[in-house]
């Protein structure tokens, strides 16, 4: 079945934040406590209760004027996802449609995904009473898209800055849009076409990724690769060795214990 994706076109975004509210409404998420910190942007950061937000950035353009750059901030649903690599419980996993799904019940609260995500997306929240800590992030509206509905953010977007569909179609649309934009925005770029094996949330950018606050050529951190490809297997191997060693120890110890008992019995018999 074809991979699905979301295309965010920042040139069409008016930063209305309908997406932020629609996400919270569909998933029943709480409002974060916020205050005015000098920009329209709020909340200041993603959180376990804020899975998508829009960033605002004013930049001076060449003509003495200004451009107000809007950039979506949310899980990018990577094809090669660092969070999936490091998740010890497989709470984070690849769904057949390509996005990174999340089963909160399996989350052990270890925080590795928070540490290794190249986009700094997952956020943890602890329960004050039970002390149990879980992460959260955009779930790609898995319950909506598996029922022929669009993700909540996409449905709400009034300017079609967000569209949803088959990933290869959206790649084509994104590339064409970038071509159209190049006349006015020479740095226009389709972010996520190839990054990390291809992102399932792609962005049409009017400026370079740096100006939009996005990592240029993001990589799965070497330590995460080391973790999944080397250390974890070594770990399991080490555990295996330990178990084997313990098993061997048990057999040897039992054999020794039996021998000792035999010797004691012989000594007693002689007396």
């Amino acid at each position: 079945m074809a991979d699905k994706a979301i295309l965010y076109d920042s040139s069409k975004c008016t930063a209305c934040r309908g997406c932020q509210v629609a996400c919270k409404q569909w998933w029943g998420l709480e409002a974060d406590k916020t205050e005015f910190w000098g920009t329209y942007e709020n909340p200041r950061d993603l959180s376990a209760d804020t899975w998508v937000k829009i960033r605002f950035n004013e930049i001076s353009n060449g003509n003495g004027g200004v451009d107000w750059i809007f950039t979506r901030q949310s899980c990018m649903h990577c094809t090669d996802a660092a969070c999936v690599r490091v998740c010890p419980t497989k709470a984070l996993y690849y769904y057949p449609l390509g996005f990174v799904a999340y089963d909160k019940d399996l989350c052990s609260g270890c925080g590795y995904c928070v540490e290794f995500c190249p986009f700094d997306v997952p956020r943890a929240k602890g329960n004050d009473i039970t002390g149990i800590r879980k992460i959260d992030k955009c779930r790609f509206c898995i319950d909506r898209i598996t029922n022929d509905l669009e993700p909540s953010c996409v449905k709400t977007c009034p300017t079609d800055a967000l569209i949803f569909g088959d990933r290869d179609e959206l790649v084509a649309i994104g590339k064409q849009r970038v071509q159209e934009l190049k006349a006015t925005y020479p740095d226009a770029y389709l972010y996520g076409e190839k990054e990390l094996g291809g992102l399932h949330v792609m962005y049409v950018l009017t400026q370079s990724p740096e100006v939009h606050g996005l990592p240029v050529d993001p990589q799965v951190p070497a330590t995460a690769i080391a973790w999944q490809d080397v250390i974890q297997p070594l770990g399991y191997a080490a555990i295996g060795l330990v178990v084997a060693g313990l098993g061997l120890n048990y057999l040897v110890a039992r054999a020794n214990a039996n021998k000792e008992a035999e010797v004691k019995a012989k000594v007693k018999a002689k007396e």
Binding site: S11, K12, C13, T14, A15, C16, R17, G18, Q20, V21, K24, Q25, E30, A31, D32, K33, T34, E35, F36, W37, G38, T39, Y40, N42, P43, E58, S60, G65, V66, D67, W68, F70, P158, T159, D160
Partner: protein, 801 residues
């Protein structure tokens, strides 16, 4: 809107001026994006770079309050270009559909000759004698015309004279808009003057909330008529209304100067119904003009019959004396500012405040809040306890000192009741109830109906003008239904008891009733058309959707569409036809006045004007079409408070503006208040915040009040981003955090730097997200015609707190 939302997608060039539609009309903005997707250019004119600007093709800054100079400059550009390159324009449209060719009274003089005023200005009465604003009529009473547009007294030449002063240099000096940018706008927008091209103009409060707001809109009308943009697909002038049913409330005349259906209120100079009819019913000698308002008697009598039934008969002048009569200018006495001045003076004792929050939304908040203290009783009908409902316990007030008895009646929200809402595009759409209201909350219909029944009951015992109350039919069911109300609005043939087909069936002899003639036809014996949801786009694929709900009048989706065709009934734009005369009948949209094309002897195109022609010159033509209070042409004046001398004439402010009684004592001058301030909205909150500042998800997005200040001004005053600042006007002061931004830039006004700051007006002392109210700063002055407050341009001082 002269058109509707979907039609905006047909535009080739859209000018959004006096509107921040991406923020304040986000759903409607979808259609603007569709237009852009088809290659349309979006021009955004605003003192500040907004979220609309972020997706616009051209950002054009202008100083708040200088729209008439800006548009006037465009009008001059178009006039000059019409003379140089007439083939680029639709001169048949201009000469046949507008009054450009009409000859005006040679005694008429304009501001170019009279230093800022029009002929007939009476300084003592503070109003115009409009005797000179008339047409020259021939011996048959028909206006004399010059189709060559050369006669010095023809409207076209008078228009040219009016705007001759609005050259590019002066436009730049007054507005602060760079010259090359202004010329680029002129070129882009005037290109839509060519037949086959459509230019659209979107506006909202940025245009209307000025002491010359109505004239701002008149300027748009003049420009769009010169460009042949009225009545065509993708063209027109679109008022983007600020609430989902404020168009409905306007149509039902929740205003001081009109009765439902835009009928004027009765005046105390009208002694009989016939006096009233003589005063307001236009007659026109040229029978080629349909002069639709000549039907006024049918509409007013049918309205009285709807309200009074059998108690309105020929013998009692159809209940003429039941209705109150206004003394003088209705708006100057009875619109919002005037009402609160009267309240403040202790004249008004009781206030029924339904779905509004004037303690935050009204101008001069300190005065208006203090006015509430003078009331004996206040009833607030709302979803939450608003600032108005809680004025008696607001910060700084000891409730023990307040004598006002305050009632709060909880109201159902819009999804908890059924009935119609009318959007900006005049679409009347029925809605069904989606959920039950919490607790005791009731729909407004139930509340007002029951209140009316109680009032009727009390007046059975007598009282002033008691039968005006007791004789009301006031019967909408038990419990009342919106269905019953809508049927009354449509109207009945009282001889048969059946619903009338539409307003063409209404009579002035008391045999028909109708609650609002303009809606007549929405619900007749065929059914309730407002409930339709068919997606048939019609024969010409212009997004008409004529079977989706119903729009007024008569389901005509694009008004003035008779101007979208040539004299033979052929569309100017054959790729986007609105109507098309084929084989002896009109196809497409409902034609404006069903007459044949003009070439076959049919009537003139603009049926609501007595002369059948669109008014470029808004003159004194006939009863009810006497021109605006402040002139037949728009003229630039400075806002009531301005840091700048008027560079267009020696008349500083609109001489006819309407001021509250207290205004003069609280007028600021530039020496104490050097900065221009403006107020606006953000998408995250709505109006006075009465609803949105109670919703956590929205308070999360925009938690606090803020003041937007340019980097330049902030540097001058030592203010950094997020610093607390105090903004002060002659009315009061507020404190909020600063948002230092590149999106405001100082204006160069004739070599002088003029700083402008802005702020949202959503905040108050109630709700989850609290903050100071911007309207503490705004003045009690308003437009010369409507008295809408001048929220958009006033003077303040600013300092770090």
């Amino acid at each position: 809107m002269t058109s509707h939302f979907n039609d905006v997608a047909n535009s080739d060039c859209i000018m959004a001026i006096g509107t921040n539609c991406a923020e304040n009309h986000p759903a409607a903005f979808h259609h603007i994006m569709k237009a852009k997707g088809r290659g349309a250019k979006l021009i955004n004119v605003d003192p500040r770079y907004t979220r609309t600007t972020a997706v616009a093709d051209l950002y054009v800054p202008l100083r708040s309050g200088t729209d008439i100079t800006f548009i006037g400059g465009m009008i001059k550009y178009v006039i000059d270009d019409i003379e140089k390159n007439p083939d680029n324009y639709n001169l048949i449209y201009v000469t046949e559909y507008t009054n450009a060719t009409f000859l005006v009274n040679p005694d008429y003089k304009g501001p170019a000759e009279l230093d800022g005023v029009f002929s007939g200005w009476d300084a003592t009465k503070k109003s115009y004698n409009k005797a000179t604003w008339t047409y020259q009529l021939d011996e048959n009473g028909i206006p004399r015309r010059d189709k060559t547009l050369k006669d010095p007294n023809c409207v076209f030449q008078l228009l040219k004279k009016q705007f001759a002063r609005y050259d590019v240099d002066r436009v730049n000096k007054i507005t602060g808009t760079p010259k090359d940018l202004f010329l680029e706008v002129c070129k882009l927008f005037s290109a839509t003057g060519k037949p086959g091209k459509a230019g659209n103009l979107l506006y909202a409060m940025g245009a209307t909330q000025h002491t010359y707001g109505a004239q701002n809109i008149r300027a748009y009308a003049v420009l769009q008529l010169l460009l042949g943009n009225m009545g065509i697909a993708g063209g027109g002038i679109q008022a983007l209304r600020g609430e989902h049913n404020v168009q409905g409330s306007t149509d039902m005349a929740l205003l001081a100067h009109i009765l439902p259906g835009y009928l004027p209120v009765f005046s105390n100079t009208d002694k009989t119904l016939q006096d009233y009819l003589n005063r307001v019913t236009p007659k026109w000698a040229d029978t080629r003009s349909l002069n639709w308002w000549s039907n006024t008697p049918k509409y007013i009598v049918s309205l009285l019959k709807a309200w009074y039934g059998d108690a309105a008969t020929k013998d009692n002048d159809f209940g003429f004396n039941y209705l109150p009569k206004v003394t003088g200018n209705a708006n100057s006495k009875h619109s919002h500012i005037a009402l609160f001045e009267a309240m403040y003076q202790g004249i008004i004792k009781g206030f029924l405040c339904i779905g509004q929050n004037p303690a935050v939304g009204g101008p001069n908040s300190v005065l208006e809040r203090d006015a509430l203290h003078k009331l004996d009783w206040l009833v607030c009908v709302d979803l939450w306890e608003t600032e108005t409902a809680s004025f008696w316990k607001r910060p700084g007030v000891n409730p023990a000192d307040v004598k006002t008895e305050v009632f709060v009646l909880p109201a159902a929200c819009h999804y908890e009741k059924e009935g119609t809402v009318t959007n900006s595009g005049r679409w009347v759409q029925w809605r069904y109830k989606g959920a039950n209201s919490p607790g005791d909350a009731k729909p407004d219909l139930d509340i007002i109906y029951e209140l009316g029944l109680k009032v009727k009951e009390v007046y059975q015992a007598g009282g002033p003008n008691a039968d005006a109350i007791t004789n009301l039919t006031w019967d909408y069911g038990h419990p009342p239904t919106a269905d019953a109300v809508l049927r009354e609005i449509n109207g009945y043939d009282l001889t048969t008891g059946k619903l009338v087909n539409n307003f063409t069936a209404l009579k002035d002899d008391g045999t028909t009733s109708c609650g609002e003639w303009v809606y007549s036809g929405c619900y007749n014996e065929t059914g309730n058309f407002t409930q339709r949801r068919e997606l048939d786009d019609g024969p010409y694929n212009i997004g008409l959707f004529s079977k989706w709900a119903w729009c007024w009048p008569l389901n005509r989706r694009i008004v003035y569409n008779r101007a979208s065709v040539d004299l033979n009934g052929e569309p100017w734009d054959k790729e986007h036809p609105v109507i098309w005369w084929k084989e002896g009948k009109w196809t497409g949209d409902v034609p404006d006045g069903g007459a044949k094309p003009m070439a076959e002897g049919g009537s003139y195109a603009f049926i609501m004007c007595p002369d059948g022609h669109a008014h470029i010159f808004g003159g004194n033509v006939a009863p009810r079409t006497a021109g605006l209070a402040d002139g037949p042409f728009p003229e630039h004046y400075e806002p009531w408070e301005s840091p700048v001398q008027n560079m267009m004439s020696g008349t500083q402010t609109n001489p006819a503006l309407l001021a509250g009684a207290s205004a003069a004592e609280q007028k600021g001058t530039a020496d104490k208040y050097p900065y221009v301030a403006t107020t606006y909205r953000v998408v995250e909150h709505w109006q006075s915040g009465a609803m949105t500042r109670h919703l956590p998800w929205l308070c999360e997005l925009m938690p606090e009040m803020f003041i937007e200040i340019s980097e330049e001004l902030a540097n001058e005053l030592g203010i950094k981003n997020v610093d607390k600042v105090i903004v002060e006007s002659a009315r009061g002061n507020i404190e909020a955090k600063a948002l230092v931004t590149k999106r405001f830039k100082p204006f160069q006004i004739d070599g002088k730097v003029v700083h402008e700051i802005g702020m949202p007006w959503h905040w108050g002392y109630a709700g989850i997200a609290k903050g100071d109210s911007a309207n503490v700063l705004t003045p009690h002055v308003g437009d010369a015609n409507t008295m809408i407050p001048e929220y958009k341009a006033f003077l303040v001082n600013l300092r770090k707190a």
